[in-house]
C-alpha cells in the first residue's frame, strides 16, 4: 500500500488532534460541564391595539363608550382608554419610543405659541400614567376606566415624549421611572396598569385652514425591563444634633402621603440604615405615629429607609436625607 502523501498525512494528524481536543472534557471524570444557553423569557404584558385618535383643533366634545363621560376641549382626543397591563410575574419598567409621520401639518417642538399661532401645527406628546387603583378586573369596567381616562392631566404624566417627524422620540420619566407592578394569577394587579395617550395643542385658526385629510401617524414601541415596584411612603424627618455614642438616640418620623395606610404597622414595618455596622434602629411606632429610634455609635453620615405594605397591597418605601452624626 502506498503511503499517503504529505497533505493527506497533515490532514489526518489535524483531524486526530481536533477529535482528541473535543474528547478531553468528556474523559475528565472530576470536572463539571455547564452549558449556558440564552433562554428567552416571554413577558406577559399587553399593549393597546392599533387605534384612532382625533386632531381636534376646536376641542369638540367626544362622548366615550359609557355614554356619560365626555371629553371636551382636548385638541388631541382618543375616545377609548388605552392601557398597558402587566400580567407577568415580575414588575416591569416601561420605556417608549415614538416615530411619527405627518400629512398636511407640522409638528411643533414646543407648546408655547401653537394654539394662537398662524402655522398649521400641532404640539403632540406621548404620555403614560399609572392607572391608579385599577386592576385587571376593573380595567374591563368602562364606568371605572372612562372617568379615570377623562381625568388625566398632562402634568401628571409619568412618561413623556414630544413627537417629532424627523427623529424617533424617546420617552423620558418626569420623576421616578414608570414601573408596572407584577401580575398575580395571570391578571394585572393595582399598580400594574398604565394609561397611555397622545395629548397636545393644535393651532385653532391657522392661516391655512385645517382639512380632514390632515393627520399624523404615531408608531409607539414599548420596551419593558424587570424592575422593583414600590411607591413613595412619604417623607422621613431628618433628626438633628446627633452625636456618637450610647444614650444619643433620636426619633425619626415618617409622614405618610395622603390616602396611604400601612396594612399592619406592627408586622410589615421594615426600618434599615445605610450604615448597619455603626447605627442601630428600632421601630417605636404606635397610635397612628410611624417612627423609629436610631442610635449612632460613631461619627459620620447615614440614611434611613423604611418599607411597609399598604392596605392596598402595594409596597411603599421612603429614604431619608443624609443624617449627620457628630464625633
Amino acid at each position: 500500500m502506498k503511503f499517503m502523501n504529505m497533505k493527506r498525512f497533515a490532514s489526518t494528524v489535524l483531524a486526530g488532534t481536533m477529535a482528541l481536543s473535543l474528547a478531553v472534557p468528556a474523559m475528565a471524570a472530576d470536572e463539571t460541564v455547564i452549558t449556558a444557553a440564552y433562554k428567552e423569557t416571554t413577558l406577559d404584558v399587553t399593549v393597546p391595539a392599533d387605534t384612532n385618535a382625533t386632531i381636534n383643533p376646536y376641542g369638540l366634545p367626544v362622548t366615550l363608550g359609557d355614554s356619560t363621560t365626555v371629553l371636551s376641549g382636548q385638541p388631541i382626543t382618543i375616545a377609548t382608554p388605552l392601557m398597558i397591563q402587566n400580567k407577568s410575574g415580575v414588575a416591569l419598567k416601561v420605556g417608549a419610543s415614538v416615530t411619527t409621520t405627518v400629512t398636511g401639518l407640522a409638528l411643533a417642538t414646543a407648546e408655547n405659541g401653537v394654539a394662537g399661532g398662524n402655522a398649521k401645527e400641532v404640539f403632540a406628546e406621548f404620555q403614560a400614567f399609572e392607572a391608579a387603583g385599577i386592576d385587571g378586573a376593573s380595567a374591563l369596567d368602562p364606568t371605572i376606566t372612562n372617568p379615570a381616562w377623562a381625568a388625566l392631566k398632562s402634568e401628571d404624566a409619568a412618561l413623556k415624549a414630544v413627537l417629532s417627524s424627523t427623529a424617533a422620540a424617546t420617552a423620558t420619566a418626569t420623576g421616578a421611572d414608570l414601573v408596572l407592578r407584577e401580575g398575580a394569577d395571570g391578571m394585572a394587579q393595582v399598580g400594574g396598569i398604565a394609561f397611555v395617550r397622545l395629548s397636545g395643542v393644535a393651532a385653532k385658526n391657522p392661516t391655512t385652514a385645517w382639512e380632514e385629510t390632515d393627520k399624523l401617524v404615531a408608531t409607539i414601541t414599548y420596551s419593558f425591563e424587570p424592575a422593583t415596584y414600590t411607591k413613595s411612603a412619604g417623607t422621613l424627618s431628618t433628626p438633628a444634633n446627633l452625636s456618637a455614642g450610647a444614650g444619643t438616640a433620636r426619633d425619626i418620623t415618617l409622614t405618610l402621603p395622603a390616602g396611604v395606610t400601612p396594612n399592619d404597622a406592627g408586622l410589615t414595618w421594615e426600618w434599615a440604615t445605610s450604615d448597619t455596622a455603626d447605627v442601630t434602629i428600632a421601630d417605636t411606632s404606635g397610635s397612628g405615629t410611624y417612627k423609629a429610634s436610631i442610635t449612632p455609635n460613631t461619627a459620620g453620615t447615614f440614611t434611613v429607609t423604611v418599607s411597609f405594605v399598604g392596605t392596598d397591597g402595594i409596597p411603599y418605601t421612603a429614604t431619608s436625607a443624609a443624617i449627620t452624626v457628630a464625633a
Binding site: T213, T219, Y222
Partner: protein, 216 residues
Amino acid sequence: MKRKRLLCVVLALALLFSAQSAAAAAEAANERSMIITATTRLPVIEVTVPTTGQVYINPLQLPVDVYGEFETDQIISYPLTIANKSDVALQVDVRVTGAVKSGSDMTLAAAPTNGTGTNKSAFVYFEMKASDPYDPYSVEWDEAYDAAKHIPVTPGGSSKSNVVTLEAMSMYGEVLGGAAFRLTGDAVKTPTNAWTAKDGIDVSIAFTFTPIPFES
C-alpha cells in the same frame, strides 16, 4: 449553469436570513408596539338664517300692526332670529349695507336725526342680541342707538365683529344658541320733500360665523 443555481440558492437563503433578522430587530422579546392614527375633525357649521325680512319707514309714527300689536316707532321691522345648529359655538360678525330704492330721493343718515331736519333722511341701524333661537320677541331691545353695539345702515356698508356668541347645539341635538335682530332708528318727520310711497331702502345683512374652540 450549476454555478448560477448555486448562486441563486445562496442569495435566496441570504435574503431569508436578512428578513428574519430585520423582523427580530424591529421588535425584541421585551418590546411591543402599537400605532395611533390621528385624523382631523372639523366642526360642522350649520346656522339657520332668514332669507328675507321687512322694515317700515314710519316718519309720522302712525300705528302699524306688527303681529297683532300696534307699533308707532319711526323705523319698524319684524324681529328675526338666527339659530346655531352647529356642534361648536360661533362668534358672529355682521356687515350691513343699505341702498335707497330706485325712484326715491331720501338719504340714509349716518347719525340719529331725532326726527328733526328738512332733508328727507332716515337713520336706520342694526341691533342684535342673544335670544331664544325661535322667539325673537323674548328680547329686551336697547332704548337708544349705541355706536358700541349697533351698526348703522349706510350705502358703503358698516361692520362689527363679535356682535353675539351663539352657543353650540347640545349633544342631544337641542338648539341652544340663537340671536334675534332687527332694524330700527328714526327719520326726519316733516322733510321739505314729503315722504312718499316711492321711498324705501334695501338692506343687505351678511353674517360671518367663526368657530369658538371648546375650553378644556
